[in-house]
């Protein structure tokens, strides 16, 4: 996020796109409700009538995968209504003409047709967003998990820059990060192309700095992304894998390919707290300690680096992942002698400019938000305060790209996947908690009552859900949360693993898989 979570409650207009915020970011939703109670307006872009959408002033129930035409349509309205922030565009951005030319060429009827949203609603949303003193956009995987995910994000950025809703407190563009430390894992360079702090592995100067610090030579080219590693199947260049606390055998799209890729490995080592679907196929499994059994830091969605404190000793013979990695490294002839997690952070601070001021003794009580450049720096509650990271904000016109797999006569439904409130990701932790299993014991397929009627399906009936890649049996729930022609289910449950069905296609730049659209069909099961 460029903002802090608490800034949201001071925004006048909040535009939420592709985020089931009430279920997945409850504290953000709480700020949104607080803002709405103090008079803010809420715009929600979501194919589903999510709990937040029910409270929206305008709910734009788009066809899954039509974000770009919608956002372009909104920008066109903003131009037509003379609501662009000309001063901001002039002073702080570049390449505006390209955007303007593209917007003036738009056919608004086509946009209505592509998105399934009326011109009136698009226009109302655009005017609400543009007229406010400060508007904020929150988006999540509903924006990024498309083959055009990068362009979707760019379109949002275009909208925000066009109206000057960046660079100020209580305005901005906020990607909501999902996992507790997905922000931190990215910050720490657990990405194929960058060292900690988003420093490119291809940059010789950066690489030399790390080579000097680590006293080894380092590979020069970017590596493979997760789905490149787990979807290579029989052509897999990867022979051995080390998986720490992840469960690709359930979380990754197109599970058939994932299974094949893992089966073709010569060696797989997994560190986890439970015997996950992935650990179950490993050659070696290391028992890991939970967050309650170790020291460390997590970085939340607002870039707040916070302490994780040990409450109990590791259960059984389990060890923290830190201890597992250092022990393994030592066996491989590269000792990593750290006395504590704090000492690791000292090395991170040394090598990572945005974390340069992060030291454990500074993290009480409530952590620090990066960038934090030195010991005196108080952290950064909101980004782009004075300047975009790369100078002026650049407009890049984007255009509609249809989903990789359109629906057809055989697979007539758009299948959207997501999360529920009471379970988390692949359920390795949440499914060990009795109250969550009581509240959400199984995956449910959301289907509109009209579609259910067509297929003669009753509530709580088991159906077969299939795509071109696989099929699962799943229980149905009838709800107007989804539009006719759309289906929704969660991927938490191994026994109804929807990722058997999802497509392997991904955004060419971000490599983010298209988990929010695939073509599917349902069949009634004989009883």
């Amino acid at each position: 996020m460029t903002n802090s979570i608490n800034e949201i409650e001071h925004s006048q207009v909040i535009l939420v796109s592709g985020s089931n915020t009430v279920k997945t970011h409850p504290q953000v939703a709480r700020r949104i409700f607080d803002a709405v109670d103090s008079g803010a307006s809420l715009i929600v872009i979501d194919p589903r009538r999510s709990p937040l959408a029910r409270h929206a002033d305008v709910h734009l129930s788009i066809r899954s995968g039509s974000d770009i035409p919608l956002l372009n349509g909104m920008m066109r309205v903003i131009l037509d209504e003379n609501l662009a922030d000309d001063a901001f565009v002039e002073m702080r951005t570049e390449n505006y003409h390209a955007l303007r030319d593209m917007l003036y060429r738009l056919d608004m009827d086509e946009i209505v047709a592509l998105t399934g949203v009326s011109l009136d609603k698009i226009s109302r949303a655009a005017k609400l967003y543009a007229r406010a003193q400060n508007s904020v956009v929150c988006y999540c995987l509903g924006i990024t998990q498309h083959i055009c995910g990068t362009d979707n994000v760019q379109a949002i950025a275009n909208l925000a820059m066009l109206t000057g809703n960046v660079e100020k407190e209580n305005t901005g563009v906020d990607p909501l990060r999902g996992q507790n430390n997905v922000q931190g894992a990215c910050d720490m360079g657990a990405l194929p192309g960058v060292f900690p702090g988003y420093q490119s592995v291809a940059d010789p100067e950066v690489r030399h700095r790390f080579e000097r610090a680590w006293q080894v030579s380092l590979p020069k080219t970017a590596g493979l992304t997760v789905t490149e590693m787990t979807h290579a199947a029989s052509d897999n260049p990867i022979k051995g894998m080390f998986v720490m606390g992840e469960n690709p055998m359930l979380s990754d799209p197109a599970l058939g390919l994932v299974r094949e890729s893992f089966a073709n490995l010569e060696f797989l080592a997994v560190a986890d707290i439970f015997l996950s679907e992935t650990a179950a196929v490993a050659d070696v499994v290391f028992p890991a300690a939970t967050f309650a059994e170790k020291e460390g830091t997590f970085t939340n969605t607002e870039r707040r680096v916070q302490l994780v404190r040990q409450a109990i000793a590791p259960v059984g013979e389990s060890r923290s992942d830190l201890d597992i990695i250092t022990a393994l490294s030592e066996k491989l002839g590269y000792p990593m002698p750290y006395a504590s997690a704090a000492e690791v952070m000292e090395e991170i601070a040394l090598l990572t400019p945005i974390y340069a001021g992060i030291f454990y003794d500074r993290l009480a009580p409530w952590g620090l938000q990066w960038p934090c450049f030195d010991r005196e720096h108080g952290g950064t509650p909101f980004l782009h305060k004075y300047n975009f990271a790369r100078g002026k904000g650049r407009f890049v016109p984007t255009s509609h790209k249809p989903p990789s797999e359109p629906t057809d006569a055989e697979y007539p439904f758009v299948l959207i996947t997501g999360r529920s409130y009471h379970q988390y990701h692949t359920g390795t932790m949440s499914r060990k908690t009795p109250v969550f299993n009581r509240e959400c014991p199984e995956g449910l397929l959301e289907i509109h009552p009209l579609d259910a009627k067509t297929y003669n399906i009753r509530a709580r009936e088991m159906v077969r859900l299939s795509s071109r890649r696989g099929s699962i049996k799943v229980k149905v729930t009838l709800t107007k949360t989804v539009n006719p022609g759309s289906l929704f289910t969660t991927f938490h449950f191994a026994e109804a693993a929807v990722n058997e069905l999802t497509v392997a296609a991904r955004d060419p730049q971000a490599k983010c898989p298209e988990l929010k659209v695939c073509a599917a069909k349902i069949e009634k099961l004989e009883t």
Binding site: V22, P26, Q27, A29, R30, F33, D34, D37, P51, R54, H55, A364, P365, W366, Y421, P434, V435, R438, E439, R460
Partner: protein, 348 residues
């Protein structure tokens, strides 16, 4: 029993607590290094900041009725009957610095757990406890205990009740154990003068007028009784509820629980009782899927009816003690004050 009144100089408070803690566990509101005030088991009094200026963020509920409690362990050997072994609870405790609402909540929990059938775990934790409460001269921001008739000062239920008179506490006895303390540690206390009594009376009187919120509890009770709350109120409240369970967990009188078995090995395990919340759909869903309270708005209705009407009907008191803890915490902004005011002002 006649109330005895004494005066305790503030300078001697820690010394007295040190004496009381010699053969008991001491629990008091402590402000920690993060600025949070929590009821805390105090091992060593020195270096601990006992905080009587801020409301403890949770009540004493978790000490008497823990968030998670092992009821018993079981072991099953192939072919022989299972063995059930109850878990012993801990020893006597002195609870210092609880507020009137916290005390009223304990008295309410007594009604639930110590009726004809007694909950052995609660009883064990409740027995041999000393309750030293402190009245509220200046209610906290969300407090409305006057309207729920559970504060700012209590008439009974405490062993000792303190009133802050600036440099000293006015001390009243409530139960026999309170008198024993005053007798055993007589040299800590001095007799209350006429002036002390006057000052204490004045303080209690002023406290009544210091509430920052006007919360029309009686009106809400009447409307609930006469079924005058429109359905829209419930649907509006429930549409905002985010199912966190926080209001029930933090509530000092919410005593609902669930029981689950947790395996330790293939032939042994524990039966565990855990806090539960009536706002959850699974709270009433029966095996097989039927749920008699199937809609969120009905669950919301049941929750507020329980707090403000059913308990008035069956126990002659609300089970809301006006502590206000559930107010700021609600994710959807649909707390009990919001509800009472919606009903009171006819606002929907």
């Amino acid at each position: 029993m006649k109330t005895i009144s004494k005066v305790l100089k503030k300078d001697h408070l820690k010394s007295l607590l040190r004496k009381l803690a010699k053969d008991r566990q001491l629990v008091a509101p402590v402000r920690n290094s993060y600025g949070d005030t929590l009821f805390t088991e105090i091992e060593a009094l020195d270096g601990v900041e006992i905080d009587l200026d801020n409301q403890a963020q949770s009540s004493l509920k978790s000490f008497l009725f823990p968030q998670q409690q092992v009821l018993f362990e079981y072991s099953t050997d192939q072919g022989s009957a299972p063995v059930y072994k109850a878990i012993d609870s801990d020893g006597p405790t002195v609870f210092f610095g609880l507020r009137s609402c916290d005390l009223a909540a304990i008295l309410y929990m007594d009604v639930i757990f110590l009726k004809e059938v007694k909950d052995p775990y609660y009883r064990q934790k409740r027995e041999n406890n000393i309750l030293i409460s402190i009245g509220c001269n200046e209610p906290f921001s969300n407090c409305f205990c006057r309207q729920t008739k559970s504060g700012p000062f209590m008439e009974y239920g405490f062993d000792l009740q303190l009133t802050d008179l600036g440099d000293r506490f006015f001390v009243e006895t409530g139960r026999a154990q309170g008198e024993e303390i005053i007798q055993q540690w007589a040299h800590f206390f001095s007799p209350a003068s006429k002036e002390d009594e006057k000052a204490q009376y004045q303080m209690r009187l002023e406290a009544q007028g210091n509430f920052k919120r006007q919360v029309l509890v009686d009106l809400a009770i009447r409307k609930l009784k006469d079924d005058l709350v429109p359905e829209e109120v419930w649907s509006k409240l429930s549409s905002r509820c985010q199912d966190c369970g926080g209001c029930a967990y933090i509530c000092p009188t919410c005593t609902c629980f669930t029981i689950n078995d947790r395996k330790i090995s293939t032939d042994s395990g524990e039966r565990i009782r855990t806090w539960d919340a009536c706002t959850f759909a699974g709270f009433t869903t029966m095996a097989g899927g039927h749920n008699p309270v199937d809609m969120k708005q009905n669950r919301m209705k049941r929750r507020f009816m329980h707090k403000l009407y059913y308990d008035v009907k069956s126990h002659n008191r609300t089970s809301c003690v006006g502590c206000g803890r559930c107010v700021d915490m609600c994710f959807g902004g649909v707390d009990i004050i919001k509800f009472i005011n919606m009903v009171g002002q006819g606002e929907i």
